[in-house]
Structures are given as structure tokens and as C-alpha cells.
């Protein structure tokens, strides 16, 4: 940590990237939620419907992961940039 005071607000681009990282962190929880939801309604429902639901949800998650991962691929989280919770946002 250096003594230089962190800026309170970030440039728009950096801000977007930070939010993208947040999305990347959130995605697995969303995935778990989506995959667990059938436990509430699936019992007795048709396998065909379940098949459609699961694979559609799966495909949507993959697309979201793709959209998030592409811009994040070249982010180098050196010096704790991505993991310091005390940073400005």
C-alpha cells in the first residue's frame, strides 16, 4: 500500500471493469441459484420440461460467462488491484 490517497471516484472505463469483476464474482452464485430452483417445482413435472429448462439456463449462463470473461481475460490483477476491498469504486 502506498501513502498516496486513493481517488474517490474512478474513470468510467475503470469503473466498468470493476463492475465486470463484480459480475464475474456474482455469476457462480447466480448459477447455483438457477440450478437449484428446480428443487422447488420439479417433483412430478415432466423430464422433458426439466430438460428444456436446465439446458436453456445452462446455455444462458455460458453466454453470460463468455460476455464477462472476454474483457476480463487481459486484466492483470497485479498489485492486488482486483482484490483490495478498500479501494475506491
Amino acid at each position: 500500500m502506498n501513502d498516496r490517497p486513493e481517488p474517490m471516484f474512478l474513470a468510467r472505463e475503470t469503473y466498468r471493469r470493476r463492475r465486470l469483476m463484480d459480475a464475474a464474482r456474482f455469476l457462480p452464485f447466480l448459477g447455483f441459484f438457477i440450478f437449484v430452483v428446480p428443487t422447488l417445482w420439479a417433483d412430478g413435472a415432466g423430464t422433458a420440461i426439466g430438460l428444456v429448462y436446465l439446458f436453456a439456463a445452462w446455455a444462458i449462463l455460458i453466454v453470460m460467462a463468455y460476455l464477462i470473461a472476454r474483457p476480463l481475460r487481459d486484466v492483470d490483477p497485479q498489485a492486488g488491484e482486483a482484490d483490495d476491498p478498500d479501494r475506491a469504486d
Binding site: A24, V36, P38, A42, I49, L51, A65, L72, G80
Partner: protein, 887 residues
């Protein structure tokens, strides 16, 4: 029907093809052409070894029995992959910077390069992977059985195991540079990943469009089939999803391809969506194949083999062969990677530590370590496969494939708390991790693994039903009275709950060793400092000994290159760098890439005499630093003081020089002052002595001149004496409280007795002020100022105005005349000794009056200053008033 021999020939051809691929790859890799070898696609495909023969055959069987539940096995890994930013990215970063060789190495390294943790995780991994390898053998054997029912299943399994062992030894330990990535293997795995995906999709397409007649018909068949309704068991659904995700991270082979073989961190970003896509595709046709299989095959048919038997039933021998190759690919790739990963762990964490401790002379005196490493790895591969075969041979054998896979999953998932806790929580300690893994392992053995071996193999049927010694609370499948739970969910729940609890409590209550804390900080904050923590103190080992050892592990060329590079960095030539802690650190990391962190640490420790850093060392270093800083600040203070003293000395010197000049000036002035009256006295007394004819008038005149001059001399001497007394502070002051107007009266009278007349204006009412002072001395000052005014005022009608003002405890006396005043540049000089403006000696002054006045006022705690801008010469005298006695 395909003949057994044809099948065997195809298999061998396929194996030869893989061998060729691997061989060519490594040839290209050695030529430096690694760009396409290390692409995100290859990385993604290598991760697909998650999909083993269990997926290939077992998923269809699973779906035929339980419907959609099979998909949880792929949902968990999907969640882990799309959450790469959270966990996997960190694992890969740690693995790359710390040169982690296996999951056991990871755990051991995190918890202070602990050999014990390495052994524990290795045992867990071996026990957990054995059923899995058995599973692959079983699936291949069953697949062979489909084509050649006359074959002996046990013998087939044996030969497959032998074949895979040879195959893996050739592939996995072909490299003598054991810390290099296995490029050939990875490419072979990627090829096999494509084969199994294509094969399964081909069967799926055939089943949906070739057998069922399109999607609509397939849906109709599905709705009519026994698995048409979704029997959701919520607890199993959630548990299996979680378990699959955990296993995805913890399975030794998965860790190997995800972390150890990772060549570029950015590939993870691609894999984060590409691997889920692969998983989606490979599970897409599972339900259709299962439903169609259930619909068209006889009831006795094994659903695990629908992928093979359905095409065969429709006479599609080519497709069946492709499916067989897919299953074979899935089985072989899993076994190859799993046994490479396991053999690395076994040789690094079990064989090498034992071998090291057996070498009493220390590592540097021993033989070639590399041969030991490679031999132990080859033996480990054989051993792992032998274990798998034995498990296959003596376990239930006919048990459903999926069940065996899940048992293995629960076993390896016991590493999860220590792994995830280790990279996110600095407080996780070796004791906690060891306790957690051990407890989880034992609970898993007791509640799941041993019961799975059959009712009477290890645990008796009575123990299973009533608990050991009839203690119902300890029944393996209803621990602590938790009944009616699915056995798998029960085992997952208890093993991971107790594991996490032990891990947490153990970590809270224990105190980590220094190395452990360093490693913990490094792992948790891996993005902040990617360098590893310093683990070595200053040592006095010879670089040559280190080189000898390093050559035996890394190979002569690599070790020498490393040493030369290190020496060059230190600015030295030759092969032997200075043995600095940095160098030891670097060497250790290189070695740990070959033999694991714990072993590398131990080997270096043997040679360097165990100069690892200790708390005492750290504290001593901290102390020394603090002392040095203290000394430095003291030095700075001293130098500042010296500067100050030097400055003071310079000032004093200047003052002395000035004083000396002043003294010289004073002496010449005083001789001059004394000489003038003396000259006239001598001249006139000579006249009086020699001239007899002087008239009485002249005689009187000359005598009076002599008299005047001698009086002037006396006055001069008196003043000098007075000044010297005042300046030396030897003057005695007679303090008294008296009225200022009385003193002024006295002074004015005395001054008026002098020659010149001056009109003095006073306001008597202002002057009734009591002052506490020496009245005679104050009067002296006043007389001096008044008579000066009388003498030097150049106005036609000289006037002196005396104003007295009391403000607070100070009394101010302003004496202002109506002359032309004193020029500005002379105002500073008038208080100096012998300062006279112009030649006014006739006035009879000694030139010491104001100097004496200033000294007197200073002694009386007052002051006398020239007051400019008043129209004439003006002096302001200030002195303290008497305490609260204003009139």
C-alpha cells in the same frame, strides 16, 4: 458382430496413434513450436478429462435409473468454471508462482511445506482415486464384454490395467525433466476429448434422428418412458451439485490439468465458458440415449452400456466402434492423468521423504536423485493401477458405475476446506488442516467407503445394521441417529461438516510456525506479492554442494544454467553464485517443481543445516533494524547539534573580532580624548613656569584654563569609571519609591546650572507618579538628556518639552526639543561611546553621556531610545512604575 481380435487391433492402432501424436508434439515442443500446443482450446479440452468413462457409459445408465439427476455431476463444475474469477484464478496463480506439482504439494506448501500434510493428502488421494480407476477398468472390461461375451472379464481388466500402466509410464515419465509440463500427454488428452465428444454426439444424433425419428418423437418416447416424470430428490440434487463442484477442484487429476499443466493464466478466461459448453454438449444426448435405450432394449440390458448396445442393436457396427473408441478414450485419458498426478504425489510426498531420511549422509552425498524420482514415479504408476485393479477385482464388481464415482468424489472433496480455507484465510494452520482432512477422511471411510465394499468385506452386516458393538448412535449410515437420509448425502453431510469444524477449531486453537505464516500470507495475498515469502536465513553452505545436489535433481545442464544465471545476476562470473537467501529461495522453487515443496525444502534444509528462518531470527532482524534506525537518528541529532555549536562558535568568533576592533577603537579614542586636555595643560603650565613677565590677568586666565582642562579630565575619567562599572554589572543600585516630579525637578535644576539656557515645558499634573527606581541614577540620565538638549539644540529659542505618560505598569518620559533633530543615519550611533555629531567639544561633553544613560536604564529595567519623527531631537525613557501607587 465385431470380433474381439478386430477390436483389440483397433485399440492398439488407436493407442499407437495417440503415442505418435504425443511423440510428434514433444518433438515440436522441443523445437520451440509451442504456440498452438499451449492454446486456450487445448487447455479447455484437457480439462474435459473430468468426463471419464463414467460420463461416457455411466451417465446414460444413471439417467436410465434416476432421470435428470445425472446432470448435477456437470452442473457443479459449470458453476466452478463460470466462477473462475473467485477461486480458480487464484489457484492457478498460486500454482504458477509457487511451482506447485500436485494438490498434495499445494496443501503441503500452504501449510508450511509440511511433509505430514503432503502424506495425508496423498493417502487420501490414492484411496479416493482407486475406486475411480477401478471404474475405468470396469467400463472398458464391460465394453469389451459387449463385443466379445466369451472373454474373461477379470483377465480383460488385468490386461487393460497392464496396458494402461505401460502406456502411462511411457507417456507420463518419458520426460526426464520432471518439472516440465507434459505437452505430449496434454495433446493426447485433447485428442481423446474430441473423440469422446464426437462419439457420444454421434450416438445421440443417431438415436434421436435415426431411431426415434426426430425431436418430437423422441419427446414422445421420453414422456412415455419410466423416467418421463422428474422425481426430484431435493437434498440429493443440491448435495450432488455441490459435491461435483468440490470434486472438480479437488480431484488430483483435475487439479493437475487445471493448475499444474496450465501454461497461461488467461486461458482460464476462455475455459470459463468453453468447458461448460463442452459439459453441456456431452450431457445433451444422455437423456435421449437413455430413454430410447429403455424403450428398445430388453429389460435385462445393462443401461450403463446403452451407448454401445443401442447402435449394435440397430446394426450400426461402425457407430458402435466409434462409441467404443470414445469410451476407451475417456477411460484411458482419465487413468493416464490420474496416475501421473498420483505418482507425482506419491513419489514427492511419500517415497522421497522416506528415501531422504534413509540417507544419513544428506542429499549431497547420495546418488542421482532424478533416477530415484523417475523410478519412484514409474513404480507409483504401476502401484496405483495395481490398486485400481485389485479394487475392481474384489469390490462388488457389478455395482453401478455412477455409485463408485460418487464415492470417490466424496473422498477427495475432504481436501476442500483445507484448500479453500488455505487460499482465503490466513488464520488456517497446519494443525487445523491436518485435523480437518483426517477427520473428514475417517468419517468418509466409515460412512461411505467401507460400507460400499459390501456388507461383509470389512464392516460386518451386524455393524452396518446396529453400529459397532451395538452402539446405535454410531451406525455407519445413520451417524448420531440421523436416519432416513440418503447414504451419500448422509456421508457428505457428516464428513464435510466434521471436517470443516475440525479445520476451523484446530486453526483457531493452534499457533502456526513462522514458515507456515509466511506461506499463508503469500498464498492469501498472491495477487499483491507474487514472489514467494523469504524462507531462508543467511547460510554458510558452499555453493558447490548446492550445485552437486541440484544437478542430481534438475539434471546437469539445467542446474548449471540456473547457477550461471544466478551468478551473472549477482555480477559474478563462473558457476558458483553467492549463497544468498534469495538464491536459496529461487533454487528451492526450482527444485520443488521437480520433487514438491516439502521435499525440496527438506533437501535444502539438510545441506544448509536447516538455516530456515525462525521467529527468533525475525525478531533479531527486526531488533537490528530498530537499533540501526535509532543509531541513525541519534547520529542525525548529533550532527545537527554539532552544526548548531559550530554556528554558535562562528558567531562568538565574529563577536570577539568585533569586540577586539571596538576595543582598539576605544583605546585610540580614549588616548585621543585624554591627550587633548593634557596637551593644553602642559602647554599652559610651561608658559606659567617659564614666562616671568606674565600679567596677573594672563596668569589667572592660563591657570583657569589648566583648571578647566583638569576638571574635564577628571570628568572624563569619572565617566569612564562609571561606564566600566555599569558595563561589568558591578554597580550598586539604591532602589527607592519616589515621586517622578521630584526627580525631574532635581534634574532640571542641575541641568540649568550649566551654561546654556533652555526653556523647559512641563505639565506638573502628569508627573505625580510614583516610581520604584534608583532616583539618583534616573536623575543622572535625565540631566544628561536635558543638558544635551541645552547644548546641542540649534533653535533660536531652544525649548524642551517633557511629557510623562503612564500606561499600565510602564512610565514613559518623552523629552522633545525644537531643534533640527538628529539625522536618520546617526540615530543608531548616538548611544555609542565617544559618539559626537560634529565638533562640539567646546560644549565640554565627554561623549560618554548617552552610553552611560543606556547602561543605567538597562540596569533599571527600563530603556532609553531615540524617538524619530517628533520635529526635533526626541528621547523616550521608559521605566517600570511603582506597584499600584499611581497618584
Amino acid at each position: 458382430m465385431l470380433s474381439f481380435n478386430l477390436l483389440l487391433a483397433v485399440c492398439l492402432a488407436y493407442v499407437l496413434f495417440l503415442f505418435l501424436v504425443a511423440f510428434l508434439t514433444e518433438k515440436r515442443a522441443r523445437a520451440g513450436k509451442t504456440a498452438w500446443l499451449r492454446s486456450p482450446l487445448v487447455y479447455t479440452l484437457s480439462i474435459s478429462i473430468y468426463c471419464t468413462a463414467w460420463t461416457f457409459y455411466g451417465a446414460v445408465g444413471y439417467a436410465a435409473r434416476s432421470g435428470l439427476e445425472f446432470v448435477t455431476i456437470y452442473l457443479g463444475p459449470t458453476i466452478v468454471m463460470i466462477g473462475w474469477w473467485l477461486v480458480l484464478r487464484k489457484l492457478v496463480r498460486i500454482g504458477r508462482t509457487q511451482r506447485i506439482t500436485s494438490i498434495a504439494d499445494m496443501i503441503s506448501s500452504r501449510y508450511g511445506k509440511s511433509t505430514l500434510m503432503g502424506v495425508l493428502v496423498t493417502i487420501l488421494a490414492v484411496v479416493g482415486t482407486t475406486p475411480y480407476i477401478a471404474l475405468q477398468l470396469q467400463s472398458v472390461t464391460l465394453a469389451f464384454g459387449v463385443f466379445a461375451p466369451e472373454g474373461d472379464a477379470v483377465a480383460t481388466g488385468f490386461w487393460v490395467a497392464i496396458g494402461l500402466a505401460v502406456f502411462t509410464v511411457i507417456f507420463g515419465t518419458r520426460n526426464l525433466d520432471v518439472n516440465e509440463r507434459h505437452d505430449g500427454v496434454v495433446i493426447a488428452i485433447a485428442v481423446e476429448a474430441v473423440v469422446k465428444l464426437v462419439a457420444l454426439c454421434a450416438v445421440g444424433v443417431f438415436v434421436v434422428w435415426g431411431v426415434a425419428g426426430g425431436i418430437a418423437d423422441a419427446t414422445r418416447i421420453l414422456d412415455a418412458s419410466p423416467i418421463g416424470g422428474w422425481e426430484m430428490q431435493a437434498e440429493r440434487w443440491v448435495t450432488l451439485t455441490f459435491l461435483a463442484g468440490a470434486a472438480f477442484l479437488c480431484l488430483p487429476r483435475m487439479f493437475h490439468v487445471l493448475v499444474v499443466e496450465s501454461s497461461d493464466e488467461r486461458h482460464l478466461a476462455t475455459a470459463s465458458w468453453a468447458v461448460p459448453t463442452y459439459l453441456l454438449l456431452i450431457s445433451l444426448f444422455v437423456i435421449p440415449i437413455a430413454t430410447v435405450g429403455l424403450a428398445v432394449m430388453p429389460e435385462t440390458a445393462n443401461p450403463d452400456l446403452f451407448v454401445l448396445t443401442v447402435p449394435l442393436a440397430f446394426g450400426q457396427e461402425g457407430l458402435a466402434m466409434l462409441a467404443f473408441m470414445g469410451g476407451f478414450s475417456a477411460a484411458t485419458s482419465m487413468v493416464i492423468v490420474a496416475s501421473i498426478a498420483l505418482s507425482t504425489m506419491v513419489s514427492n510426498h511419500i517415497v522421497l521423504p522416506i528415501w531422504l531420511s534413509a540417507q544419513s549422509g544428506g542429499a549431497k552425498l547420495s546418488g542421482d536423485v532424478r533416477n530415484v524420482v523417475l523410478l519412484s514415479r514409474r513404480l507409483s504408476i504401476a502401484g496405483v493401477l495395481a490398486l485400481g485393479y485389485l479394487y475392481f477385482r474384489f469390490s462388488g464388481g457389478g455395482a453401478a458405475l455412477a455409485a463408485m464415482g460418487l464415492i470417490a468424489f466424496v473422498g477427495v472433496a475432504q481436501v476442500l476446506p483445507a484448500l479453500v480455507g488455505g487460499i482465503f484465510w490466513r488464520g488456517a494452520t497446519r494443525v487445523g488442516a491436518g485435523l480437518g482432512v483426517a477427520v473428514g477422511f475417517l468419517v468418509w471411510l466409515y460412512t461411505l467407503y467401507l460400507p460400499s465394499l459390501g456388507p461383509s468385506s470389512v464392516l460386518s452386516a451386524a455393524t452396518l445394521a446396529d453400529g459397532p458393538f451395538g452402539i446405535a448412535l454410531l451406525r455407519p449410515q445413520a451417524l448420531f441417529g440421523v436416519q432416513d437420509m440418503d447414504p451419500l448425502v448422509h456421508a457428505v453431510f457428516w464428513s464435510l461438516a466434521l471436517n470443516t469444524l475440525a479445520f476451523f477449531i484446530g486453526s483457531l486453537l493452534s499457533f502456526p510456525r513462522p514458515l507456515e505464516r509466511l506461506q499463508g500470507a503469500t498464498f492469501v495475498n498472491i495477487y499483491r506479492y507474487s514472489d514467494s515469502a523469504r524462507g531462508w536465513g543467511q547460510s554458510f553452505v558452499e555453493a558447490e554442494d548446492l550445485l552437486v545436489m541440484a544437478q542430481r535433481i534438475l539434471g546437469a545442464a539445467d542446474a548449471q544454467a540456473l547457477f550461471v544465471a544466478a551468478a551473472a545476476e549477482q555480477g559474478k562470473g563462473g558457476y558458483l553464485p553467492d549463497v544468498t537467501p534469495e538464491f536459496l529461495e529461487r533454487l528451492e522453487r526450482q527444485l520443488s517443481g521437480s520433487v514438491g515443496a516439502a521435499t525440496a525444502h527438506a533437501m535444502l534444509g539438510q545441506i544448509t543445516g536447516g538455516v530456515t528462518v525462525s521467529v527468533e531470527d525475525l525478531m533479531r532482524v527486526a531488533d537490528e533494524t530498530a537499533q540501526m534506525m535509532e543509531q541513525q537518528s541519534q547520529l542525525q541529532a548529533k550532527s545537527r547539534e554539532l552544526e548548531r555549536t559550530a554556528r554558535q562558535l562562528r558567531d562568538a568568533n565574529e563577536k570577539l573580532t568585533q569586540l577586539s576592533i571596538q576595543k582598539d577603537g576605544f583605546l585610540s579614542q580614549i588616548s585621543h580624548e585624554l591627550r587633548t586636555p593634557m596637551t593644553s595643560i602642559r602647554a599652559f603650565s610651561e608658559i606659567l613656569m617659564e614666562d616671568k613677565e606674565l600679567s596677573d590677568a594672563d596668569r589667572r586666565k592660563y591657570s583657569s584654563i589648566i583648571h578647566d582642562e583638569s576638571r574635564r579630565l577628571t570628568r572624563l575619567l569619572d565617566d569612564l569609571l562609571d561606564l566600566s562599572v555599569l558595563e561589568n554589572g558591578q554597580v550598586r543600585l539604591d532602589y527607592d519609591t519616589s515621586m517622578l516630579d521630584e526627580i525631574l525637578d532635581r534634574a532640571v535644576q542641575a541641568a540649568e546650572s550649566g551654561a546654556q539656557e533652555i526653556e523647559i515645558a512641563r505639565r506638573a499634573s502628569d508627573e505625580r507618579i510614583a516610581v520604584h527606581t534608583d532616583p539618583d541614577r534616573l536623575a543622572q540620565v535625565l540631566i544628561n538628556v536635558i543638558s544635551n538638549a541645552a547644548k546641542y539644540c540649534d533653535a533660536d529659542h531652544p525649548k524642551l518639552k517633557i511629557e510623562v505618560l503612564q500606561s499600565g505598569d510602564r512610565v514613559r518620559i518623552d523629552l522633545v526639543d525644537n531643534g533640527s533633530g538628529i539625522p536618520k543615519d546617526s540615530q543608531d550611533l548616538i548611544f555609542e561611546k565617544f559618539a559626537r555629531l560634529g565638533d562640539q567639544r567646546a560644549a565640554g561633553g565627554t561623549g560618554l553621556g548617552l552610553a552611560i544613560s543606556r547602561e543605567i536604564m538597562a540596569r533599571l529595567s527600563g530603556s532609553i531610545d531615540y524617538l524619530p519623527g517628533q520635529g526635533g531631537a526626541a528621547f523616550r525613557i521608559e521605566l517600570p512604575a511603582a506597584q499600584a501607587e499611581a497618584a
